[in-house]
Symmetry: C2
Subunit: 310 residues, 2 copies
Protein backbone atom coordinates (compact mmCIF):
# COMPACT_ATOMS: atom_id res chain seq x y z
CA UNK A 1 0.00 0.00 0.00
CA UNK A 2 1.79 3.16 -1.19
CA UNK A 3 -0.78 5.22 0.69
CA UNK A 4 0.75 8.08 2.70
CA UNK A 5 -1.64 8.33 5.60
CA UNK A 6 -0.49 11.48 7.38
CA UNK A 7 0.82 13.68 4.60
CA UNK A 8 -1.38 16.58 5.75
CA UNK A 9 0.06 16.73 9.23
CA UNK A 10 3.14 18.84 8.75
CA UNK A 11 4.72 21.82 10.43
CA UNK A 12 7.43 24.05 9.03
CA UNK A 13 8.84 27.48 9.68
CA UNK A 14 9.96 29.96 7.03
CA UNK A 15 12.24 32.73 8.28
CA UNK A 16 11.30 36.07 6.68
CA UNK A 17 13.50 38.21 8.90
CA UNK A 18 16.06 37.34 11.57
CA UNK A 19 17.84 40.58 12.37
CA UNK A 20 17.32 42.65 15.48
CA UNK A 21 16.28 46.29 15.69
CA UNK A 22 17.52 47.64 12.35
CA UNK A 23 17.88 45.85 9.03
CA UNK A 24 21.52 45.14 8.14
CA UNK A 25 23.68 43.02 5.82
CA UNK A 26 20.60 41.99 3.84
CA UNK A 27 18.89 40.70 7.00
CA UNK A 28 15.41 42.00 7.74
CA UNK A 29 13.59 42.69 11.00
CA UNK A 30 11.71 39.83 12.65
CA UNK A 31 8.96 37.88 10.88
CA UNK A 32 8.31 34.22 10.23
CA UNK A 33 5.54 32.02 8.96
CA UNK A 34 4.57 28.71 10.53
CA UNK A 35 2.80 26.37 8.13
CA UNK A 36 0.75 23.91 10.15
CA UNK A 37 -1.59 21.42 8.56
CA UNK A 38 -2.14 23.60 5.51
CA UNK A 39 -2.76 26.81 7.44
CA UNK A 40 -0.15 29.61 7.54
CA UNK A 41 0.41 31.55 10.77
CA UNK A 42 2.48 34.72 10.76
CA UNK A 43 4.54 35.43 13.87
CA UNK A 44 5.75 39.02 14.16
CA UNK A 45 5.73 41.33 11.17
CA UNK A 46 8.76 43.63 10.91
CA UNK A 47 9.07 46.25 8.20
CA UNK A 48 9.18 44.67 4.75
CA UNK A 49 7.32 41.49 5.71
CA UNK A 50 4.87 41.74 2.82
CA UNK A 51 7.80 42.07 0.43
CA UNK A 52 9.53 39.08 2.03
CA UNK A 53 6.28 37.09 1.78
CA UNK A 54 6.19 37.79 -1.95
CA UNK A 55 9.84 36.82 -2.28
CA UNK A 56 9.38 33.50 -0.50
CA UNK A 57 5.94 32.73 -1.91
CA UNK A 58 3.97 32.75 1.34
CA UNK A 59 0.27 32.53 0.50
CA UNK A 60 -2.00 35.25 1.88
CA UNK A 61 -5.09 33.16 1.29
CA UNK A 62 -3.91 30.60 3.81
CA UNK A 63 -3.14 33.29 6.38
CA UNK A 64 -5.87 33.92 8.93
CA UNK A 65 -3.91 34.46 12.15
CA UNK A 66 -1.13 36.96 12.93
CA UNK A 67 0.67 37.03 16.27
CA UNK A 68 2.66 40.08 17.44
CA UNK A 69 4.99 39.50 20.39
CA UNK A 70 5.53 43.09 21.53
CA UNK A 71 5.44 46.74 20.56
CA UNK A 72 9.02 47.29 19.45
CA UNK A 73 8.86 48.46 15.87
CA UNK A 74 11.12 45.79 14.44
CA UNK A 75 8.39 43.29 15.30
CA UNK A 76 5.33 45.02 13.82
CA UNK A 77 6.16 47.94 11.49
CA UNK A 78 5.30 45.74 8.49
CA UNK A 79 1.80 45.09 9.77
CA UNK A 80 -0.02 48.23 8.54
CA UNK A 81 1.27 47.65 5.02
CA UNK A 82 0.33 43.98 5.03
CA UNK A 83 -3.16 44.75 6.36
CA UNK A 84 -3.64 47.41 3.65
CA UNK A 85 -2.29 45.29 0.83
CA UNK A 86 -4.57 42.37 1.63
CA UNK A 87 -7.49 44.78 1.45
CA UNK A 88 -6.30 46.26 -1.86
CA UNK A 89 -6.03 42.66 -3.06
CA UNK A 90 -9.73 42.20 -2.27
CA UNK A 91 -9.42 39.79 0.64
CA UNK A 92 -12.74 38.82 2.20
CA UNK A 93 -11.68 36.18 4.77
CA UNK A 94 -11.55 37.38 8.35
CA UNK A 95 -8.08 38.04 9.73
CA UNK A 96 -7.37 37.44 13.40
CA UNK A 97 -4.72 39.60 14.98
CA UNK A 98 -3.26 38.73 18.39
CA UNK A 99 -1.03 41.34 19.97
CA UNK A 100 -0.46 43.76 22.83
CA UNK A 101 -3.51 45.90 23.64
CA UNK A 102 -1.91 49.17 22.37
CA UNK A 103 -1.48 47.69 18.88
CA UNK A 104 -5.08 48.03 17.70
CA UNK A 105 -5.56 51.76 18.45
CA UNK A 106 -2.48 52.45 16.32
CA UNK A 107 -3.78 50.34 13.44
CA UNK A 108 -7.19 52.00 13.75
CA UNK A 109 -5.63 55.49 13.68
CA UNK A 110 -3.63 54.60 10.58
CA UNK A 111 -6.74 53.31 8.79
CA UNK A 112 -8.83 56.29 9.90
CA UNK A 113 -6.50 59.03 8.64
CA UNK A 114 -6.40 57.34 5.23
CA UNK A 115 -10.21 56.94 5.13
CA UNK A 116 -9.55 53.23 4.64
CA UNK A 117 -12.34 50.71 5.02
CA UNK A 118 -10.88 47.22 4.87
CA UNK A 119 -12.38 44.71 2.47
CA UNK A 120 -12.38 42.06 5.21
CA UNK A 121 -13.05 41.77 8.97
CA UNK A 122 -9.97 42.42 11.10
CA UNK A 123 -10.56 40.86 14.50
CA UNK A 124 -8.24 41.90 17.28
CA UNK A 125 -7.47 39.74 20.31
CA UNK A 126 -5.40 41.55 22.96
CA UNK A 127 -2.75 39.42 24.64
CA UNK A 128 -3.31 38.69 28.34
CA UNK A 129 -0.63 39.42 30.94
CA UNK A 130 0.22 35.78 31.49
CA UNK A 131 -0.16 32.57 29.51
CA UNK A 132 -3.37 31.65 27.73
CA UNK A 133 -4.60 29.60 24.80
CA UNK A 134 -5.19 32.24 22.12
CA UNK A 135 -6.77 30.08 19.45
CA UNK A 136 -7.58 26.42 18.99
CA UNK A 137 -8.92 24.92 15.78
CA UNK A 138 -9.08 21.39 14.40
CA UNK A 139 -5.67 22.09 12.83
CA UNK A 140 -3.61 23.82 15.52
CA UNK A 141 -3.52 25.50 18.90
CA UNK A 142 -1.51 28.61 19.82
CA UNK A 143 -0.70 29.55 23.41
CA UNK A 144 1.10 32.70 24.48
CA UNK A 145 3.52 32.83 27.37
CA UNK A 146 5.26 35.81 28.98
CA UNK A 147 8.97 36.40 28.47
CA UNK A 148 11.15 39.09 30.05
CA UNK A 149 11.86 42.16 27.94
CA UNK A 150 12.09 45.91 28.36
CA UNK A 151 8.38 46.18 27.58
CA UNK A 152 5.60 43.55 27.83
CA UNK A 153 6.45 40.69 25.49
CA UNK A 154 5.12 37.21 24.78
CA UNK A 155 6.39 34.04 23.17
CA UNK A 156 4.06 31.71 21.30
CA UNK A 157 3.71 27.94 21.47
CA UNK A 158 2.26 26.46 18.28
CA UNK A 159 0.93 22.91 18.54
CA UNK A 160 -0.43 20.90 15.66
CA UNK A 161 -3.73 19.28 16.56
CA UNK A 162 -3.64 15.58 17.30
CA UNK A 163 -2.79 13.43 14.35
CA UNK A 164 -5.27 10.84 15.50
CA UNK A 165 -4.45 7.15 15.69
CA UNK A 166 -2.08 5.61 13.18
CA UNK A 167 -3.64 3.13 10.73
CA UNK A 168 -2.24 -0.38 10.32
CA UNK A 169 -2.86 -0.77 6.57
CA UNK A 170 -2.26 -4.55 6.47
CA UNK A 171 -4.81 -5.12 9.25
CA UNK A 172 -7.32 -2.81 7.59
CA UNK A 173 -7.06 -4.86 4.41
CA UNK A 174 -7.26 -8.14 6.34
CA UNK A 175 -10.49 -7.03 8.05
CA UNK A 176 -11.89 -5.56 4.82
CA UNK A 177 -12.17 -1.95 6.02
CA UNK A 178 -12.87 0.39 3.07
CA UNK A 179 -10.59 3.41 2.58
CA UNK A 180 -13.64 5.65 2.99
CA UNK A 181 -13.73 4.67 6.69
CA UNK A 182 -10.07 5.51 7.40
CA UNK A 183 -10.81 9.00 8.79
CA UNK A 184 -13.20 7.49 11.33
CA UNK A 185 -10.55 4.92 12.27
CA UNK A 186 -8.05 7.73 12.90
CA UNK A 187 -10.63 9.28 15.20
CA UNK A 188 -10.78 6.05 17.23
CA UNK A 189 -14.08 4.61 15.96
CA UNK A 190 -14.75 0.85 15.68
CA UNK A 191 -15.67 -0.60 12.26
CA UNK A 192 -19.04 -2.31 11.79
CA UNK A 193 -18.85 -4.78 8.94
CA UNK A 194 -21.76 -5.36 6.52
CA UNK A 195 -22.43 -8.73 8.25
CA UNK A 196 -23.06 -6.91 11.54
CA UNK A 197 -19.85 -7.89 13.30
CA UNK A 198 -17.74 -5.14 14.86
CA UNK A 199 -13.94 -4.80 14.51
CA UNK A 200 -12.52 -2.96 17.52
CA UNK A 201 -10.42 0.09 16.67
CA UNK A 202 -7.32 -1.19 18.54
CA UNK A 203 -7.09 -4.10 16.11
CA UNK A 204 -6.79 -1.71 13.15
CA UNK A 205 -4.70 1.15 14.55
CA UNK A 206 -1.99 2.01 17.03
CA UNK A 207 -1.39 5.24 18.96
CA UNK A 208 -0.45 8.02 16.54
CA UNK A 209 2.72 10.07 16.79
CA UNK A 210 2.71 13.03 19.13
CA UNK A 211 1.57 16.28 17.55
CA UNK A 212 4.41 18.58 16.55
CA UNK A 213 5.15 21.51 18.84
CA UNK A 214 7.03 24.71 18.05
CA UNK A 215 7.99 27.44 20.50
CA UNK A 216 8.84 30.99 19.42
CA UNK A 217 10.47 32.80 22.33
CA UNK A 218 10.39 36.38 21.02
CA UNK A 219 12.75 38.99 22.52
CA UNK A 220 13.83 38.09 26.01
CA UNK A 221 16.43 38.16 28.67
CA UNK A 222 17.73 34.67 29.44
CA UNK A 223 15.04 33.23 31.69
CA UNK A 224 14.20 29.75 32.89
CA UNK A 225 10.68 30.87 33.71
CA UNK A 226 9.70 29.87 30.18
CA UNK A 227 10.77 26.24 30.66
CA UNK A 228 7.26 25.01 31.53
CA UNK A 229 6.02 26.26 28.14
CA UNK A 230 8.86 25.10 25.92
CA UNK A 231 9.81 21.82 27.61
CA UNK A 232 10.32 19.02 25.11
CA UNK A 233 9.10 20.91 22.04
CA UNK A 234 10.24 19.65 18.65
CA UNK A 235 11.74 23.01 17.74
CA UNK A 236 12.42 26.13 19.75
CA UNK A 237 13.22 29.45 18.05
CA UNK A 238 15.16 31.53 20.52
CA UNK A 239 16.68 34.94 20.03
CA UNK A 240 20.46 35.18 20.19
CA UNK A 241 21.00 38.88 19.72
CA UNK A 242 24.57 38.74 20.99
CA UNK A 243 27.58 36.51 21.52
CA UNK A 244 28.95 35.92 25.03
CA UNK A 245 31.60 38.61 24.50
CA UNK A 246 28.69 41.07 24.63
CA UNK A 247 26.82 39.40 27.50
CA UNK A 248 26.69 42.75 29.35
CA UNK A 249 24.90 44.34 26.39
CA UNK A 250 22.49 41.39 26.33
CA UNK A 251 21.56 41.97 29.96
CA UNK A 252 21.31 45.74 29.62
CA UNK A 253 19.00 45.43 26.60
CA UNK A 254 16.96 42.43 27.80
CA UNK A 255 18.39 40.09 25.21
CA UNK A 256 20.10 36.68 25.15
CA UNK A 257 23.45 35.34 23.95
CA UNK A 258 23.92 32.34 21.68
CA UNK A 259 25.35 30.28 24.53
CA UNK A 260 22.49 31.18 26.85
CA UNK A 261 19.96 30.16 24.21
CA UNK A 262 21.74 26.83 23.81
CA UNK A 263 21.77 26.33 27.57
CA UNK A 264 18.03 26.91 27.70
CA UNK A 265 17.48 24.45 24.85
CA UNK A 266 19.46 21.84 26.77
CA UNK A 267 17.55 22.46 29.98
CA UNK A 268 14.24 22.32 28.13
CA UNK A 269 15.18 19.12 26.32
CA UNK A 270 13.99 20.43 22.98
CA UNK A 271 14.81 18.44 19.85
CA UNK A 272 16.04 21.36 17.72
CA UNK A 273 17.07 24.96 18.39
CA UNK A 274 16.78 27.74 15.81
CA UNK A 275 18.72 30.93 16.48
CA UNK A 276 17.81 34.38 15.17
CA UNK A 277 17.35 38.09 15.97
CA UNK A 278 21.03 38.80 15.38
CA UNK A 279 22.40 42.20 16.27
CA UNK A 280 23.33 44.52 13.41
CA UNK A 281 26.86 44.60 14.80
CA UNK A 282 27.52 41.12 13.34
CA UNK A 283 28.07 40.97 9.61
CA UNK A 284 28.92 37.28 9.76
CA UNK A 285 26.86 35.03 12.06
CA UNK A 286 28.95 31.83 11.85
CA UNK A 287 30.27 32.50 15.37
CA UNK A 288 26.78 31.93 16.77
CA UNK A 289 27.04 28.29 15.71
CA UNK A 290 30.54 27.94 17.19
CA UNK A 291 29.32 29.33 20.49
CA UNK A 292 26.04 27.43 20.78
CA UNK A 293 26.84 23.97 19.40
CA UNK A 294 29.16 22.81 22.22
CA UNK A 295 26.28 23.46 24.65
CA UNK A 296 23.44 22.10 22.50
CA UNK A 297 24.24 19.99 19.48
CA UNK A 298 21.18 20.28 17.27
CA UNK A 299 21.34 24.01 16.70
CA UNK A 300 20.69 25.92 13.48
CA UNK A 301 21.76 29.49 12.75
CA UNK A 302 18.77 30.54 10.68
CA UNK A 303 19.03 32.03 7.21
CA UNK A 304 16.30 34.21 5.74
CA UNK A 305 14.20 32.42 3.19
CA UNK A 306 15.12 29.00 4.53
CA UNK A 307 12.36 26.60 5.50
CA UNK A 308 12.86 24.50 8.62
CA UNK A 309 10.90 21.31 9.15
CA UNK A 310 9.65 20.95 12.70
CA UNK B 1 42.55 77.09 -15.39
CA UNK B 2 41.23 73.62 -14.71
CA UNK B 3 39.32 74.98 -11.73
CA UNK B 4 35.72 73.78 -11.53
CA UNK B 5 33.98 76.70 -9.95
CA UNK B 6 30.49 75.37 -9.29
CA UNK B 7 31.05 71.71 -8.52
CA UNK B 8 29.05 71.99 -5.30
CA UNK B 9 25.89 73.20 -6.97
CA UNK B 10 24.23 70.00 -8.04
CA UNK B 11 20.82 68.40 -7.79
CA UNK B 12 19.97 64.77 -8.37
CA UNK B 13 17.13 62.40 -7.54
CA UNK B 14 17.53 58.78 -6.49
CA UNK B 15 14.41 56.65 -6.84
CA UNK B 16 14.00 54.31 -3.84
CA UNK B 17 10.49 53.16 -4.69
CA UNK B 18 8.24 53.81 -7.69
CA UNK B 19 5.32 51.42 -7.31
CA UNK B 20 1.83 52.39 -6.21
CA UNK B 21 -0.12 51.01 -3.27
CA UNK B 22 1.43 47.55 -2.85
CA UNK B 23 4.96 46.40 -3.62
CA UNK B 24 5.13 44.23 -6.75
CA UNK B 25 7.61 42.84 -9.29
CA UNK B 26 10.51 43.97 -7.14
CA UNK B 27 9.20 47.54 -7.11
CA UNK B 28 8.77 49.23 -3.74
CA UNK B 29 6.29 51.81 -2.47
CA UNK B 30 7.10 55.48 -2.99
CA UNK B 31 10.27 57.09 -1.68
CA UNK B 32 13.03 59.16 -3.22
CA UNK B 33 15.98 61.24 -2.13
CA UNK B 34 16.86 64.60 -3.61
CA UNK B 35 20.51 65.53 -3.19
CA UNK B 36 20.87 69.29 -3.38
CA UNK B 37 24.12 71.10 -2.75
CA UNK B 38 25.40 68.33 -0.50
CA UNK B 39 22.23 68.00 1.57
CA UNK B 40 19.90 64.99 1.15
CA UNK B 41 16.13 65.48 1.30
CA UNK B 42 13.79 62.49 1.57
CA UNK B 43 10.44 62.77 -0.17
CA UNK B 44 7.88 60.20 0.95
CA UNK B 45 8.92 57.12 2.84
CA UNK B 46 7.05 53.94 1.89
CA UNK B 47 7.61 50.64 3.67
CA UNK B 48 11.17 49.45 3.25
CA UNK B 49 12.71 52.89 2.65
CA UNK B 50 15.47 52.41 5.24
CA UNK B 51 16.40 49.13 3.54
CA UNK B 52 16.40 50.82 0.13
CA UNK B 53 18.54 53.64 1.53
CA UNK B 54 21.08 51.07 2.68
CA UNK B 55 20.97 49.38 -0.71
CA UNK B 56 21.57 52.57 -2.63
CA UNK B 57 24.00 54.13 -0.14
CA UNK B 58 21.94 57.17 0.86
CA UNK B 59 23.66 58.88 3.78
CA UNK B 60 21.63 59.43 6.94
CA UNK B 61 24.04 62.01 8.24
CA UNK B 62 23.23 64.32 5.32
CA UNK B 63 19.47 63.87 5.89
CA UNK B 64 17.80 66.58 7.97
CA UNK B 65 14.48 67.09 6.19
CA UNK B 66 11.76 64.55 5.35
CA UNK B 67 8.63 65.47 3.39
CA UNK B 68 5.48 63.30 3.44
CA UNK B 69 2.91 64.07 0.76
CA UNK B 70 -0.18 62.39 2.25
CA UNK B 71 -1.43 59.78 4.67
CA UNK B 72 -1.78 56.79 2.36
CA UNK B 73 0.39 54.07 3.82
CA UNK B 74 2.47 53.47 0.70
CA UNK B 75 3.89 56.95 1.22
CA UNK B 76 4.86 56.80 4.90
CA UNK B 77 4.82 53.27 6.39
CA UNK B 78 8.63 53.23 6.28
CA UNK B 79 8.88 56.35 8.40
CA UNK B 80 8.55 54.86 11.92
CA UNK B 81 11.30 52.35 11.17
CA UNK B 82 13.61 54.99 9.73
CA UNK B 83 13.03 57.31 12.70
CA UNK B 84 13.77 54.45 15.12
CA UNK B 85 16.83 53.22 13.30
CA UNK B 86 18.43 56.66 13.22
CA UNK B 87 17.95 56.82 16.98
CA UNK B 88 19.42 53.34 17.49
CA UNK B 89 22.31 54.54 15.36
CA UNK B 90 22.91 57.34 17.84
CA UNK B 91 21.90 60.29 15.66
CA UNK B 92 22.08 63.64 17.45
CA UNK B 93 21.28 66.07 14.59
CA UNK B 94 17.75 67.44 14.58
CA UNK B 95 15.41 65.93 12.01
CA UNK B 96 12.69 68.08 10.45
CA UNK B 97 9.55 66.28 9.38
CA UNK B 98 7.01 68.00 7.11
CA UNK B 99 3.72 66.17 6.63
CA UNK B 100 -0.05 66.18 7.13
CA UNK B 101 -1.10 67.14 10.65
CA UNK B 102 -2.38 63.62 11.55
CA UNK B 103 1.09 62.14 10.97
CA UNK B 104 2.73 63.26 14.18
CA UNK B 105 0.18 61.84 16.65
CA UNK B 106 0.68 58.43 15.00
CA UNK B 107 4.46 58.68 15.28
CA UNK B 108 4.14 59.82 18.89
CA UNK B 109 1.83 56.91 19.75
CA UNK B 110 4.26 54.43 18.18
CA UNK B 111 7.18 55.88 20.16
CA UNK B 112 5.16 56.02 23.39
CA UNK B 113 4.02 52.38 23.42
CA UNK B 114 7.62 51.27 22.91
CA UNK B 115 8.88 53.57 25.68
CA UNK B 116 11.19 55.04 23.04
CA UNK B 117 13.01 58.30 23.69
CA UNK B 118 14.75 59.38 20.49
CA UNK B 119 18.44 60.23 20.61
CA UNK B 120 17.77 63.37 18.54
CA UNK B 121 15.17 66.14 18.26
CA UNK B 122 12.34 65.31 15.85
CA UNK B 123 10.70 68.56 14.82
CA UNK B 124 7.34 68.33 13.11
CA UNK B 125 5.99 70.92 10.70
CA UNK B 126 2.36 70.29 9.69
CA UNK B 127 1.58 71.03 6.05
CA UNK B 128 -0.76 73.97 5.39
CA UNK B 129 -3.90 73.59 3.28
CA UNK B 130 -2.47 75.51 0.36
CA UNK B 131 0.98 76.37 -0.92
CA UNK B 132 3.73 77.66 1.38
CA UNK B 133 7.50 77.79 1.65
CA UNK B 134 8.25 75.02 4.14
CA UNK B 135 11.97 75.55 4.56
CA UNK B 136 14.61 77.83 3.10
CA UNK B 137 18.32 77.52 3.83
CA UNK B 138 21.46 78.79 2.11
CA UNK B 139 21.42 75.54 0.13
CA UNK B 140 17.81 75.01 -0.96
CA UNK B 141 14.18 75.99 -0.61
CA UNK B 142 11.18 73.63 -0.51
CA UNK B 143 7.64 74.79 -1.21
CA UNK B 144 4.56 72.59 -0.94
CA UNK B 145 1.59 72.89 -3.28
CA UNK B 146 -1.79 71.17 -3.13
CA UNK B 147 -2.68 68.42 -5.60
CA UNK B 148 -5.99 66.59 -6.00
CA UNK B 149 -6.26 63.17 -4.38
CA UNK B 150 -8.79 61.15 -2.39
CA UNK B 151 -7.38 62.62 0.80
CA UNK B 152 -5.38 65.83 1.39
CA UNK B 153 -2.14 65.61 -0.57
CA UNK B 154 0.73 67.93 -1.48
CA UNK B 155 3.45 68.05 -4.06
CA UNK B 156 6.85 69.61 -3.30
CA UNK B 157 8.94 72.05 -5.28
CA UNK B 158 12.65 71.83 -4.48
CA UNK B 159 14.80 74.76 -5.59
CA UNK B 160 18.53 74.95 -5.20
CA UNK B 161 19.62 78.27 -3.74
CA UNK B 162 21.20 80.74 -6.12
CA UNK B 163 24.52 79.66 -7.53
CA UNK B 164 25.85 83.17 -7.32
CA UNK B 165 27.57 84.92 -10.21
CA UNK B 166 29.77 82.95 -12.57
CA UNK B 167 33.50 83.74 -12.43
CA UNK B 168 35.45 84.68 -15.56
CA UNK B 169 38.78 83.01 -14.70
CA UNK B 170 40.84 84.72 -17.42
CA UNK B 171 39.68 88.17 -16.26
CA UNK B 172 40.35 87.31 -12.64
CA UNK B 173 43.90 86.40 -13.55
CA UNK B 174 44.30 89.51 -15.70
CA UNK B 175 43.21 91.75 -12.82
CA UNK B 176 45.27 89.79 -10.27
CA UNK B 177 42.38 88.65 -8.09
CA UNK B 178 43.54 85.97 -5.63
CA UNK B 179 41.62 82.67 -5.47
CA UNK B 180 40.85 83.42 -1.81
CA UNK B 181 38.51 86.21 -2.98
CA UNK B 182 36.50 84.06 -5.44
CA UNK B 183 33.65 83.37 -2.98
CA UNK B 184 33.18 87.13 -2.46
CA UNK B 185 33.17 87.61 -6.25
CA UNK B 186 30.42 84.99 -6.59
CA UNK B 187 28.42 86.98 -4.04
CA UNK B 188 28.71 90.08 -6.22
CA UNK B 189 31.41 92.00 -4.33
CA UNK B 190 33.93 94.31 -6.03
CA UNK B 191 37.65 93.58 -5.63
CA UNK B 192 39.91 96.21 -3.96
CA UNK B 193 43.48 95.81 -5.15
CA UNK B 194 46.46 96.34 -2.81
CA UNK B 195 47.18 99.65 -4.63
CA UNK B 196 43.74 100.94 -3.58
CA UNK B 197 42.05 100.74 -6.98
CA UNK B 198 38.74 98.93 -7.22
CA UNK B 199 37.79 96.37 -9.88
CA UNK B 200 34.03 96.32 -10.39
CA UNK B 201 32.43 92.92 -10.02
CA UNK B 202 30.84 92.96 -13.52
CA UNK B 203 34.33 93.00 -15.04
CA UNK B 204 35.20 89.72 -13.31
CA UNK B 205 31.91 87.77 -13.45
CA UNK B 206 28.79 87.24 -15.48
CA UNK B 207 25.29 86.25 -14.31
CA UNK B 208 25.31 82.69 -12.93
CA UNK B 209 23.09 79.92 -14.27
CA UNK B 210 19.57 79.71 -12.93
CA UNK B 211 19.20 77.59 -9.83
CA UNK B 212 17.93 74.07 -10.54
CA UNK B 213 14.27 73.35 -9.78
CA UNK B 214 12.61 69.98 -9.22
CA UNK B 215 8.89 69.36 -8.77
CA UNK B 216 7.51 66.19 -7.14
CA UNK B 217 3.81 65.98 -7.86
CA UNK B 218 2.80 63.20 -5.44
CA UNK B 219 -0.45 61.26 -6.01
CA UNK B 220 -2.95 63.25 -8.01
CA UNK B 221 -5.73 63.32 -10.47
CA UNK B 222 -4.69 65.05 -13.69
CA UNK B 223 -4.96 68.73 -12.82
CA UNK B 224 -3.72 71.91 -14.45
CA UNK B 225 -4.10 73.75 -11.15
CA UNK B 226 -0.50 72.78 -10.35
CA UNK B 227 0.90 74.53 -13.45
CA UNK B 228 1.81 77.72 -11.58
CA UNK B 229 4.07 75.69 -9.27
CA UNK B 230 5.74 73.41 -11.80
CA UNK B 231 6.04 75.78 -14.77
CA UNK B 232 9.47 75.58 -16.41
CA UNK B 233 11.11 73.37 -13.79
CA UNK B 234 14.18 71.43 -14.85
CA UNK B 235 12.63 68.13 -13.88
CA UNK B 236 9.10 67.15 -12.91
CA UNK B 237 8.35 63.79 -11.27
CA UNK B 238 4.74 62.98 -11.99
CA UNK B 239 2.80 59.88 -11.06
CA UNK B 240 1.60 57.69 -13.91
CA UNK B 241 -0.28 55.00 -12.06
CA UNK B 242 -2.10 53.83 -15.17
CA UNK B 243 -2.03 53.72 -18.94
CA UNK B 244 -4.79 55.37 -20.98
CA UNK B 245 -6.58 52.02 -21.37
CA UNK B 246 -7.34 52.34 -17.66
CA UNK B 247 -8.16 56.05 -17.67
CA UNK B 248 -11.46 55.31 -15.94
CA UNK B 249 -9.59 53.67 -13.04
CA UNK B 250 -7.26 56.66 -12.88
CA UNK B 251 -10.19 59.02 -12.46
CA UNK B 252 -11.99 56.80 -9.96
CA UNK B 253 -8.89 56.50 -7.80
CA UNK B 254 -7.60 60.07 -8.20
CA UNK B 255 -4.61 59.05 -10.26
CA UNK B 256 -3.08 60.00 -13.61
CA UNK B 257 -2.22 58.16 -16.82
CA UNK B 258 1.14 58.27 -18.58
CA UNK B 259 -0.30 60.33 -21.43
CA UNK B 260 -1.89 62.82 -19.05
CA UNK B 261 1.39 63.26 -17.20
CA UNK B 262 3.15 63.92 -20.51
CA UNK B 263 0.48 66.42 -21.47
CA UNK B 264 1.01 68.29 -18.22
CA UNK B 265 4.77 68.29 -18.75
CA UNK B 266 4.24 69.81 -22.20
CA UNK B 267 1.85 72.47 -20.88
CA UNK B 268 4.24 73.30 -18.04
CA UNK B 269 7.21 73.53 -20.37
CA UNK B 270 9.41 71.45 -18.07
CA UNK B 271 12.76 70.24 -19.35
CA UNK B 272 12.48 66.62 -18.21
CA UNK B 273 9.64 64.37 -17.01
CA UNK B 274 10.17 61.42 -14.67
CA UNK B 275 7.34 58.89 -14.43
CA UNK B 276 6.65 56.65 -11.44
CA UNK B 277 4.02 55.28 -9.01
CA UNK B 278 3.15 52.45 -11.37
CA UNK B 279 0.17 50.25 -10.58
CA UNK B 280 0.87 46.70 -9.46
CA UNK B 281 -1.17 45.51 -12.42
CA UNK B 282 1.78 46.25 -14.75
CA UNK B 283 4.64 43.80 -14.61
CA UNK B 284 6.39 45.51 -17.50
CA UNK B 285 6.40 49.33 -17.60
CA UNK B 286 7.85 49.85 -21.11
CA UNK B 287 4.38 50.84 -22.36
CA UNK B 288 4.50 53.96 -20.20
CA UNK B 289 7.31 55.26 -22.39
CA UNK B 290 5.46 54.37 -25.60
CA UNK B 291 2.39 56.23 -24.40
CA UNK B 292 4.09 59.33 -23.00
CA UNK B 293 6.91 60.04 -25.45
CA UNK B 294 4.79 61.08 -28.45
CA UNK B 295 3.23 63.77 -26.22
CA UNK B 296 6.42 64.85 -24.41
CA UNK B 297 9.77 63.80 -25.78
CA UNK B 298 12.13 64.06 -22.80
CA UNK B 299 10.41 61.49 -20.63
CA UNK B 300 12.02 58.86 -18.43
CA UNK B 301 10.30 55.78 -17.02
CA UNK B 302 12.09 55.63 -13.68
CA UNK B 303 13.90 52.57 -12.41
CA UNK B 304 14.53 51.99 -8.71
CA UNK B 305 18.08 52.67 -7.67
CA UNK B 306 18.70 54.92 -10.65
CA UNK B 307 20.02 58.42 -10.09
CA UNK B 308 18.63 61.19 -12.28
CA UNK B 309 20.53 64.45 -12.73
CA UNK B 310 18.27 67.47 -12.58
Amino acid sequence: MGLVIFEYYEMKVTILGNNSATPAFGRHPTAQTVAVNGEVLLIDCGEGTQIQMQRYAAKWRKLHHIFISHMHGDHYFGLPGLINSMSLGGRTDALHLYGPAPLMPIIEAILAVADTVLSYPLIFHPLPEGSEVLVETHLFRVTCFPVIHRIACHGFLVEASTRGRKLLPARCEEYGVPVSFYDELKNGEDYSRPDGTVVKNYLLTEPGPSPKRYAYCADTLYTETILPYVKGVDTMYHEATYLEADADKAVARYHTTARQAAQLAALAGVKQLLLGHFSSKYKDVDSFMEEASPVFANVVVTVEGNVYEI
